[in-house]
């Protein structure tokens, strides 16, 4: 991975010499297909209602009164009613579960949108290097996708699709790899989505847990959004499994709070760092450019720090 600054010659490269890859870029459809296969394999234990929508939630009262059920009641659009010991909200940054549970969300809109497209490269390459350049208007990243010379192009440089492609050609004399040239943009592959930051004040309530973007939303510049979600899932599954083995009620706050503590400790520092990086690289004010230039050069010169960063990001 090679990352460099717009306003200076600062550059940082991450390379892993051993056989393990630094990371994987997997297309969303491939993930969905793998998940669907897994779900089919456990069809006796997991039921998926495709094409359905929840329209109402009834929360259990905190006191255990005799008449009302202590479980969460869900009403679906088609009129069916479900009840559950634990409701997991994985419904994205505009989470309805979070809103209905009245969990406060700290949020901040970046006045930016991301443009995503698939590019065809002009020459055959190994296509195993990710490129990212920070411009004052936002980062541009070129992510390798497949061996057929495709690359995911993410330009967070405002709504305009600039001829910023020319900026990908580095200037200066530093020893660096050259990014591949782009031959064309895949038609119909372009999409735009607004960017913002969000963090739920609580990830859990009695009988409710939030995971993924419903709990936290980050800028894509570090490519960590979905990874945070995967981390949430692994952690929640671990705590629920331990609780189940102890015969506990899965909706009980005790183990849900342990999940929340563990994930918040991990997520909050990363989310803050990403936000800081975004702000740091959004400016062309000289002192800050100097600071980040120096910081980037210094980090590039220190292998132990880079190894730590790679280890954390590859987790």
């Amino acid at each position: 991975m090679q990352v460099w600054d717009a306003c200076s010659e600062a550059i940082i490269t991450f390379e892993k010499d051993d056989l393990d890859d630094m990371g994987y870029i997997v297309e969303n459809d491939v993930i969905m297909s793998a998940l669907t296969k897994q779900l089919d394999a456990v069809a006796d234990r997991v039921e998926v209602f495709y094409g359905s929508r929840a329209v109402g939630y009834t929360w259990p009262l905190p006191s255990h009164s005799s008449d009302t059920s202590p479980w969460v009641q869900i009403e679906l659009a088609d009129g069916r009613r479900l009840q559950t010991k634990l409701l997991i909200g994985a419904d994205g940054h505009n989470s309805v579960v979070r809103k209905e549970a009245e969990i406060q969300n700290i949020e901040h809109q970046y006045d930016q949108s991301a443009v995503v497209a698939t590019l065809h490269l002009s020459e055959a390459t190994d296509n195993n290097v990710a490129w990212q350049r920070f411009l004052p208007t936002g980062p541009i990243a070129l992510l390798p996708w497949s061996n057929v010379n495709h690359s995911d192009f993410i330009d967070a440089a405002g709504a305009m699709f600039r001829s910023a492609l020319s900026l990908l050609k580095p200037s200066g004399t530093a020893v660096r790899q050259l990014p591949p040239s782009v031959a064309e943009v895949d038609p119909e592959s372009r999409a735009v989505f607004p960017l913002g930051m969000g963090h739920a004040a609580q990830y859990v309530r009695h009988r409710v847990a939030l995971i993924g973007d419903a709990a936290h939303r980050v800028h894509p510049l570090a490519g960590q959004g979905v990874n945070l979600g995967f981390g949430d899932i692994a952690c929640l599954a671990h705590h629920l499994s331990a609780a189940a083995f102890n015969g506990q009620d899965l909706g009980s706050l005790k183990h849900l709070l342990r999940f929340e503590t563990e994930r918040q400790r991990h997520n909050v520092s990363l989310i803050a760092a990403i936000d800081l990086l975004k702000r740091l690289y959004s400016t062309s004010l000289s002192p800050l450019v100097l600071l980040r230039t120096w910081g980037l050069q210094a980090t590039n010169a220190l292998p132990p720090i880079k190894e730590q960063i790679m280890a954390f990001a590859s987790k």
Binding site: S66, W71, A244, G247, Q248, D249
Partner: protein, 291 residues
């Protein structure tokens, strides 16, 4: 608040008013009691968190005694008697792990709370049966019925401990397990268990315990061994009021947990499910080495 007599004019008699009021008060008292039992941060929070010790203790001991392990249901096929079940705090997790649980308690209100709480969970409602009764009262109809008896925080309240143990022996299957958690009778347990726990920190409602009735582990062991049991494990446990959690400790000076097995036939509980092919192969392969 309207004058009760004004209702007399609208046709509802005074006596009906009174009985409606009485019903409402009873319902409120019941809800309060249910809330007291089942509020995890309430009066019985120490009992709730003791499940983190007692449930794994029972589960792992039973599993280690050669029970066929069914995924997701480690206690399936096991019949458990929860003596002094209270509001059902321990019966429910045991039921969730697959056991068929019978919970008994002398106080009828407790049984009603327990019954109501399990009623919302269709799985638990079938697996657990509650009965307002003492142990002595069910001995006749339950001879050698249970694989496991749990007497948690009970023996320190019992009037005749030897009789209690004899009854446990009668309703247990040969080779069945008895699990006891209780409080030792030491100076330390007086200071911590009564003075601090009841009077100062309010960990336990005041007047719950009578230090005279606390049972030292040596005495319990002696009584058990004299009445058909073989004591396998005695281990101390300690409550940390700051974290609200229990942990295993070396010393049995305050609280302790005990596991004993009813002597009789083999130490292993008899299988109730037919063995799978793989398991019967394993059994015959090790049959020669079994003691």
């Amino acid at each position: 608040m309207e004058n009760v007599f004004s209702h007399h004019i609208s046709g509802i008699s005074f006596m009906t008013q009174l009985s409606l009021l009485r019903v409402t008060v009873r319902r409120l008292k019941f809800q309060l009691l249910a809330h007291r039992w089942w509020d995890e941060q309430g009066e019985y929070s120490a009992l709730h968190s003791m499940n983190d010790i007692r449930v794994p203790f029972i589960r792992d001991t039973v599993l280690n005694m050669g029970n066929t392990y069914q995924r997701g249901s480690p206690l399936s096929g096991i019949k458990i008697l929860d003596v002094g079940c209270g509001g059902g705090l321990l019966s429910e997790p045991l039921g969730r792990l697959g056991a068929s649980v019978t919970g008994i308690d002398p106080l009828e209100e407790n049984i009603r709370v327990a019954d109501q709480h399990k009623s919302f969970d269709p799985v638990l409602a079938k697996r657990i049966q509650y009965k307002s009764s003492s142990l002595e009262e069910i001995v006749e109809e339950s001879v050698e019925m249970f694989d496991v008896i749990v007497a948690s925080e009970v023996v320190e309240h019992v009037a005749d401990l030897e009789m209690f143990i004899k009854c446990c022996c009668q309703v247990l299957k040969p080779g069945g397990s008895l699990f006891v958690t209780t409080i030792n009778k030491t100076q330390l347990s007086y200071i911590l268990g009564i003075v601090v726990a009841e009077k100062i920190a309010g960990i336990v409602p005041e007047g719950t315990h009578d230090w005279e009735k606390f049972v030292p582990p040596e005495e319990l062991e002696q009584l058990l061994e004299a009445n058909g049991f073989s004591v396998k494990t005695v281990n101390g446990i300690l409550y940390n009021p700051l974290t609200g959690s229990w942990s295993w400790i070396e010393s049995t000076s305050i609280n302790y947990a005990l596991h004993a097995v009813k002597s009789g036939s083999q130490a292993e509980t008899s299988q109730t499910e037919p063995l799978s092919e793989m398991e019967s192969e394993q059994c015959s392969a090790t049959a020669g080495t079994n003691v």
